[in-house]
């Protein structure tokens, strides 16, 4: 009897990767939209006290980037998911208008860069780190997305905080980064493990996420 190995797909995207990534992303977009509506309420008191504090809830927008990458584990997953999620929000009607697409792209890029450096990119230093799609990578990716979100909002013309004073901008960026790490990074990591436990991820590289070590 011959035993044929199942085709390994490596880094190319299969149809199932695309459809599931898009699904996660659009669901994220709908959640975004709800988050944006809710953010209006939550951010009112924050705005009233000290506007840069709103950076602390920014992480909610970056979940698709980290979650998508943790589940799909293919290059480009973070950018793809975050951009599609932004498109989803745009379709639902966004207060940020078309600029939401640019924000999405940049936030996705932030997370993607972290994953590239730590996980799938080909660098010598990685052999010391033993980096996998673990909690640290998730936190750092969330932080990366948050950092890019903060930079986008503070320095690009369509940024909401473009008119802040430099000190406030810095505070905002720091808050965004923390929020990205905690809300997007940690929550996505937990969600991936939860999903893996139900068996739905059986056709993805993340199917064993629930039993993977937390660190290294």
């Amino acid at each position: 009897m011959t035993t044929a190995a199942i085709k390994k797909t490596g880094n190319t995207w299969r149809v199932v990767d695309i459809v599931v990534a898009a699904l996660i992303a659009i669901t994220g977009g709908v959640i975004f939209w709800a988050w944006s509506q809710g953010a209006g309420i939550v951010s009112a008191p924050m705005n009233a006290v000290y506007p840069p504090l709103t950076g602390l809830i920014a992480g909610g927008w970056m979940i698709p980037a980290v979650l998508g990458m943790l589940i799909i584990r293919k290059p480009g997953a973070a950018i793809f998911c975050e951009t599609v999620a932004a498109t989803g929000e745009l379709i639902m009607g966004s207060q940020y208008g078309a600029t939401v697409l640019i924000s999405g792209l940049l936030q996705g890029l932030g997370a993607e860069l972290v994953f590239f450096l730590l996980v799938y990119g080909n660098f010598r230093f990685k052999s010391f780190l033993h980096q996998k799609y673990n909690l640290i990578a998730a936190l750092l990716a969330g932080a990366g997305a948050g950092l890019f979100c903060g930079l986008n909002d503070s320095f690009l013309p369509w940024g909401w905080n473009i008119a802040y004073e430099p000190g406030d901008k810095l505070a905002y960026i720091v808050f965004c980064t923390i929020s990205g790490a905690v809300i997007a990074g940690a929550l996505s990591w937990i969600a991936t493990r939860g999903l893996a436990r139900t068996g739905v991820l059986s056709s993805f590289a993340s199917r064993k996420a629930a039993s993977e070590p937390v660190f290294n």
Binding site: M1, A4, A5, V200, S203
Partner: protein, 529 residues
Amino acid sequence: MTASDAGASGVRPAAVSARGWGWRHAGRSAPAVQGLDLDIAPGERVLLLGPSGAGKSTLLHALAGVLGDEGDDADETGSLLIDGVVPRGQRGRSGLMQQDPETQVVLSRLGDDVAFGAENLAVPRDEIWRRVHEALDDVGLRSAGPGPGGLPLDHPTSALSGGQKQRLALAGILAMRPGLILLDEPTANLDPAGVLEVRDAVGRCLDKTGATLVVVEHRVSVWKDLVDRIVVLQPGSAAGSTGGSAASSAVLLDGPPDQVLAEARDMLIGAGVWVPGYVPATRRRVSAGSGDLLLAAEDLAVSRERPRRRGFRTIPPVPVQHGIAAQVRSGHALTVTGPNGAGKSTFALTLAGLLAPVAGKVSAAVELSEGAGIDPFKWKANQLISRIGTVFQEPEHQFVTGRVLDELMFGPRHLGHGEERVDELLERLRLTHLVDANPYTLSGGEKRRLSVATVLAAHPRVLVLDEPTFGQDANTWAELASFLSELLDAGTSVVSVTHDQEFSAVLGGAELRLGPASRGGARQEAGAA
């Protein structure tokens, strides 16, 4: 549309050959199929039979080239070839219709969805539209003309009934002009008229294109005259464990329908095949039941939609059925029948206290409510499960854990009693070998049995079952029917929504026939038995 001439159909029938082919799914110890040797000549029409879990769907997926996305620990043995080449990578050579019609729809407009396959095969645009019209004609979803099934090309696919979706899926496959048509229980869940329509649609297309057909279905009678060969599979583990030379093949029987049905009738019956004219023996009811009223519906109007609020007004939804009257009595069965889309499931959910009535009321008698109040919709969830147990039409909706055993233990643990019944249920519904499996990876029939078992485990007084017998082979069917008749004797009441006349005959009791949607006024007729 003008029918294209035979040459223009341009279909090259495919040949299938399997040599010692086997497949073990990821996470399973036993293979689903083992040692399959099978040759299908171009243009042959094969009916594939076998007990639930025998690996029929697995084989069809392999032929369609879509098996193997589930990870590295799945295992393939032997070879399976279409026209001498592995199926994967030959996409478009075969067209697969899966067991679940809902996931057959890809795009949101009718015409686009039919065109999708042809587009992927890089068919020129004019040709695509010609094929789309033709395919829609063939399956009776005529796009042009004012016929009753006439739907515009931009009709939203989400607004189709179950039967229409199944036809749409067939049209999408036909538009690809595949050499091999693979149909996995294409008529499950269809009403009797719909079954014949879909079958005839398949027949017409085959006559026109001459493509090879492999169809999986439990009921032989529907397909007997259309196919020219019957192949019966046996479960992969059975093929492996016996070890003997004859039994080690996955194919139990193979031959022309009439010959197989005449010569090997007993063997077919033993394998759980639904042979025409044979109804498996089931347990007889011994007591007629006390007949105490447990649950009653009066002048009930039902809909899935909820009232909408516009300003300060609430607008009630348009009901799919109204004026329904029904009584559910201890030890008596009630069968709900009617065409697809009539609102049977909606009624069942309302009766079971899961949906709020649009008008009229559902009231529980004191014997059932035992202090929980008269309106089942207002009961708490754990009050509900010990009183009314509901099995949904789509089994997957009800799974809440990741393991078959946990799934069965779930209800009893919540209630704090009944865990001891679980083993018996596993045994009788043939799920024992699957206790550790993930519910979502089960075969179609296994999922159905599990969802029935989970509800039985909570031992409710009233059972509401939506299509409890679809996808079952004759043996498990008989086991299920006998089990329910025991429960009826013990005073449980069984309400079942079903197209399965033999099943309602076994349970006896009254029938509630719902007309096409929005006619209303359905009353239950006593004594179908």
